[in-house]
Symmetry: C2
Subunit: 273 residues, 2 copies
């Protein structure tokens, strides 16, 4: 067992293991966005750092079928940040909050050796939450968008290149309106934060299923993390409805396999530990 799984298991109970935790009709999600772990200062402007920190957290809420309402902001910042730099960070948080109609209601600020952000998003469930659990044998497995670009972007940055401000690695594209509309039709979902292969292995293990692939995906599609596209599954009878909704929202729909009896094992490199 890798250490992240060991830690998750140490704290596991019925309420966790999903992108968010549900209490009454609220969903709570928390993600860390740390310098030199998730980003390097030379890759992102300060506004982009704050924006991505918000988006990766909002992504968790969306993939539970919840609408983000409030945020708590934990900011660990170097003492030598100027007021203009703090304002640039603030702009990223506030613009994204405004765009998603989120109120920042509190948090904590400390000085630190680097920029480490911790966000908690409090969201209201739309009708019914969507969980990772719920997959049945025979369900079709799908993901949104085009996978691989995040890893390619990371490689460009690691080789000293630069990315455009709207590149998915800088600014993930979320699928809120599409996902809220398909949510009643699907059996399970999660966002793709650690790569399709890793996240799929979690989804399948949790639901005690294997996969029958419809097509061979390349390594970029399988191992690209921080995509924030959505992995989900549904009964074949919902296929046409979901295709119509995807078309309506201009979302590329990739139906790549079917849940079957068996097991699927992740074989790539672990991201975290």
């Amino acid at each position: 067992m890798n250490k992240e799984d060991f830690i998750i298991k140490a704290f596991l109970n019925k309420k966790n293991g999903d992108d968010g935790a549900i209490i009454d009709d609220w969903c709570f999600s928390k993600d860390l966005f740390f310098e030199n772990v998730h980003f390097k200062r030379e890759w992102f402007s300060l506004e982009q750092i704050a924006t991505k920190a918000m988006l990766v957290n909002i992504s968790d809420a969306i993939s539970m079928n919840a609408v983000p309402k409030y945020a708590l902001l934990g900011l660990a910042l170097p003492k030598n940040l100027s007021e203009n730099e703090i304002k640039a960070l603030q702009k990223g948080f506030l613009k994204t909050a405004r765009k998603f109609n989120i109120k920042i209601i509190g948090g904590d600020t400390i000085s630190n050796d680097k920029i480490d952000i911790s966000l908690t998003i409090i969201s209201k469930i739309n009708d019914k939450a969507v969980f990772r659990k719920g997959l049945k044998k025979g369900h079709l497995l799908a993901y949104t968008g085009k996978l691989g670009r995040s890893l390619k972007g990371l490689e460009i940055l690691q080789n000293g290149g630069t990315l455009k401000p709207n590149h998915v690695f800088i600014k993930p594209k979320l699928r809120a309106s599409f996902f809220y509309e398909i949510a009643p039709l699907i059996s399970c979902a999660m966002d793709i934060s650690d790569g399709l292969s890793k996240d799929l292995s979690r989804l399948l293990a949790l639901n005690k299923c294997g996969i029958s692939w419809f097509k061979k995906l390349d390594d970029y599609a399988l191992y690209s993390g921080e995509e924030y596209e959505i992995l989900f599954a549904f009964d074949e009878k919902e296929r046409q409805n979901i295709e119509i909704i995807a078309k309506k929202h201009g979302v590329k729909l990739n139906i790549f396999g079917k849940a079957v009896k068996g097991k699927y094992e992740f074989r790539g490199r672990e991201h975290h530990f």
Copy 2:
């Protein structure tokens, strides 16, 4: 303006500025507990680190008159922590959670160069929340316990000494049952995390009051941070009731001043930036 106040001001709205934020009858509080900012590894065992991280967050909830129910746990941990070390951390989180009847419902785990903990506590308000705002001229100002020991403990550690496991710097003593009982009788409260002088300056500025001192407090009492005793105020007519409740719970009550017209300015060293 110091940078922490600058940042807080940048994000301020009606919902923040208190130890916790209130939504319906829930209270949300979030505190960071970072290595080399709040603790050094040589000062604390791993279990003590996790325990203090929990307690300083629970303190926020208590001082809002809220009962902690759920926690979200953000853990940034060095890759070289052993499974036994992770278990020791886990023990601190779980024992404290059990003691306060808190469920850990989710969070995030990443690898990092040091142990940085971010906790969000979700609490249920007892009847009515207590805020920092509410102080009126003439109200008596009080704090619980004996202030100064946290700073003295820190100085001992900084000089290479050691502290007993129940020292307030290692394991803050919270005043839940006392505070819940006086909550209906008081006008405002906050926990003392940055030192009485600093926290008092915030409370008085927010309520546009000054202070008439009943006694001179020494520098240890004024400038000792991370005490997690409670600073609060009440109308003189509640004095006897509050004294009776303090006696019942074995809590030392220090009525040290009265809110008056004027201003009080903090003159000590800023802790954070």
